[in-house]
């Protein structure tokens, strides 16, 4: 009785396999130009890991930008609903979920019974998206994970032109050229990111507990900066990789279908 969740994002694709509330397979790959292709591959890999085949999936839910293009799903659901669902499973006490995707940034408020009360997505210029951090890390020549660690030793973080990714990048290059310590630049980047997220989080109104999903959740410095601005603790996700929260949510919805209605 396998339930599948497949999240085809613009930058990465994720797949999760569940069996009676337990994750029995998960996979993340870089998205290919063709979403169907990404879906096949990422799900295929997830299955292979546990020695399963597509036949073993009794219900599969698709989500993400490419969701309409996934050949093997029975149903599609928006990533916002999936992320909320996944986050609740990862952090049952979560009432506010902040998700940083590759191309956008969402904040969701969930009621005690788990239904979505409200959500906001960042429509503004792209600073405040996962892509923003990627571009910056690239310029600094460090990996996304390093970006978090490097900044820890920062004494006085720079202030970045956070209005536009590419202009912020121009600033970063300037600071590099002026031999500003890498730590301070990195810290500046993380702060810019965090304050972007804080705006939309405060916009829907924070309810404790707060948790963060998406790849950026792995950047300790951003999370810390966000905590500082919001003045609340962000619950760390340990149960699994926060980046696959959307796929987990999809898989959970699939399980509901199998067992008929929410557990």
């Amino acid at each position: 009785m396998l339930a599948g969740g497949c999240d085809i994002g613009s930058l990465t694709s994720k797949a999760v396999l569940m069996n009676r509330g337990r994750i029995v397979g998960a996979e993340i790959i870089k998205s290919k130009p063709e979403p169907g292709e990404s879906a096949q591959e990422v799900m295929g890999r997830a299955l292979a890991k546990g020695g399963y085949s597509f036949e073993d999936i009794s219900f599969c839910v698709g989500t993400g930008y490419g969701r309409e293009k996934i050949p093997f799903v029975q149903e599609t659901v928006s990533e916002i609903a999936c992320h909320a669902r996944g986050a609740r499973w990862l952090v049952p006490s979560a009432r506010t979920v902040i998700d940083i995707g590759g191309q956008d940034c969402k904040a969701m408020r969930i009621s005690i019974d788990g239904t979505m009360e409200k959500f906001i997505t960042n429509d503004k210029c792209a600073s405040g998206t996962g892509r923003f951090l990627e571009v910056m890390a690239e310029v600094l020549g460090v990996s996304l994970e390093e970006l978090g660690n490097v900044s820890s030793s920062s004494k006085n973080p720079v202030v970045l032109a956070s209005a536009c990714t590419v202009w912020a990048q121009a600033d970063v290059i300037r600071h590099l050229n002026e031999n500003v310590p890498l730590a301070d630049i990195a810290a500046g980047i993380n702060n810019a990111m965090a304050s972007r997220m804080a705006i939309i989080a405060n916009n829907i109104g924070i309810e404790k507990d707060v948790c963060m999903t998406g790849g950026v959740a792995k950047n300790a410095a951003v999370v810390a900066a966000l905590e500082k601005i919001l003045g609340v603790r962000v619950k760390r996700i340990r149960k699994s990789d926060p980046q696959i929260a959307g796929a987990i949510g999809a898989a959970l919805l699939a399980e509901e279908k199998i067992s008929g209605g929410p557990q």
Partner: protein, 376 residues
């Protein structure tokens, strides 16, 4: 069933305009719903509400406007620069908002650079931002100056009887539009938001008499339509929208936009103009005292109650509050609407978008779907 309005909504120079011009009549474009169409129409001139749809880029627009400006006037200027508005004999710019007002300056400059980009007749109609006795006097004078300018340029004369006729014709159209809205309000509304949008757009783009008869036939057909009425009922509010595709994108197969509160929408002259009073005064009053646009500062409560009324009479499940980037007037009022609607338990979602060709549908679609799931 064919919707005779779709083509009109999707093209600028529709076949009726071509006819109109062939008969040697003039067309005047305008930028904002505060212009009394009745007056021009009574003088045998077709008032055309300018749109920016169809602009493939804003290269010309960006030559004159700065970067932090709403893309709607940029697109309109683009089309003018590319000659798509060649059919206009005149244009009226109204200070609807800062971006629109500055189109006056930018268009004049573009006219200097690009042969034929600027219509021969070009007028600035200073509509006040408040509705009180002395601003009404001002507005009435503005209209008189406008009429004088039109009379002079097009060597026509305004005639009271024909003006009264024109007011009647437009009122007839208003009544029909109201009937359309009544159909949309039905539990099983037989008409989609996209179709209704097309109707309303056509209302600002073809001769009123033709519009009225087309709409009568269309309403008759609609009354025969059956519809299960199982879709989510949405109200669309916020910035001007002249793009049928946006409606189709929102509706998809799960939702129907049963009401709107947007410029180029049913906000377009809802109530009837007094046919007994002096026509010019009646029109001045009618147009100035309608306060649906946040350009009328300080009237939030009035606008909120108008919105609530529409929500109730259309039995709406959720409200989408959209605004074009850099449209601060609607953008921030949407913030207030959202706050107050949610307080009353009416699900609502703010959505900032780029005006122009709806190539980038991914983000909008994702938000709309999530919103529909939320209210479902």
């Amino acid at each position: 069933m064919n919707n005779p309005f779709m083509d009109i909504a999707r093209t600028l120079e529709n076949k009726y305009i071509v006819q109109w011009k062939e008969n040697g009549n003039a067309v005047i474009g305008y930028t904002c719903s505060y212009l009394p169409d009745e007056i021009l129409y009574s003088m045998g001139i077709l008032p055309f509400r300018m749109r920016g749809t169809g602009a493939g880029s804003t290269s010309i627009g960006d030559t004159y406007f700065g970067p932090f400006i709403c893309s709607m006037p940029k697109c309109i200027l683009q089309l003018a620069g590319e000659g798509s508005y060649g059919f206009l004999d005149g244009a009226v710019v109204i200070p609807g908002c800062d971006s629109m007002r500055r189109m006056d300056d930018c268009w004049r400059k573009a006219g200097g650079d690009i042969e034929g980009a600027l219509p021969e007749f070009f007028h600035h109609l200073g509509v006040p931002h408040k509705a009180v006795d002395y601003s009404l006097t001002w507005f009435r004078q503005e209209i008189e100056e406008f009429v004088a300018a039109v009379e002079k340029h097009f060597s026509v004369k305004i005639n009271e009887d024909r003006l009264r006729e024109s007011v009647k014709t437009y009122n007839r159209g208003r009544k029909l539009l109201r009937e359309l809205q009544e159909l949309r309000n039905l539990k099983s509304s037989p008409v989609s938001g996209a179709e209704s949008m097309a109707v309303i757009l056509a209302g600002s783009a073809i001769p009123r008499d033709i519009f009225n008869s087309l709409l009568e036939e269309y309403l008759a057909e609609l009354r025969l339509r059956k519809n299960p009425g199982t879709k989510k009922r949405i109200l669309l509010a916020g910035s001007a929208n002249d793009d049928v595709e946006l409606l189709q994108l929102i509706e998809g197969d799960k939702a129907v936009v049963v009401a709107d509160n947007i410029c180029f929408g049913t906000r377009f002259h809802p109530d009837i103009v007094n046919e007994d009073a002096d026509p010019v005064s009646a029109l001045a009053e009618h147009y100035l005292f309608r306060s649906e646009c946040p350009r009328m500062f300080g009237d939030y409560k009035k606008r909120y109650s108008i919105l609530r009324e529409k929500i109730d009479s259309a039995g709406v499940d959720g409200v989408i509050l959209q605004n074009i980037r850099f449209c601060d007037l609607h953008g921030s009022e949407n913030g207030l609407f959202e706050r107050d609607l949610e307080k009353e338990g009416i699900p609502s979602m703010r959505l900032e978008r780029e005006y122009g060709p709806m190539v980038e549908t991914g983000r909008v679609k994702m938000r709309v779907d999530a919103f529909l799931e939320r209210i479902g």
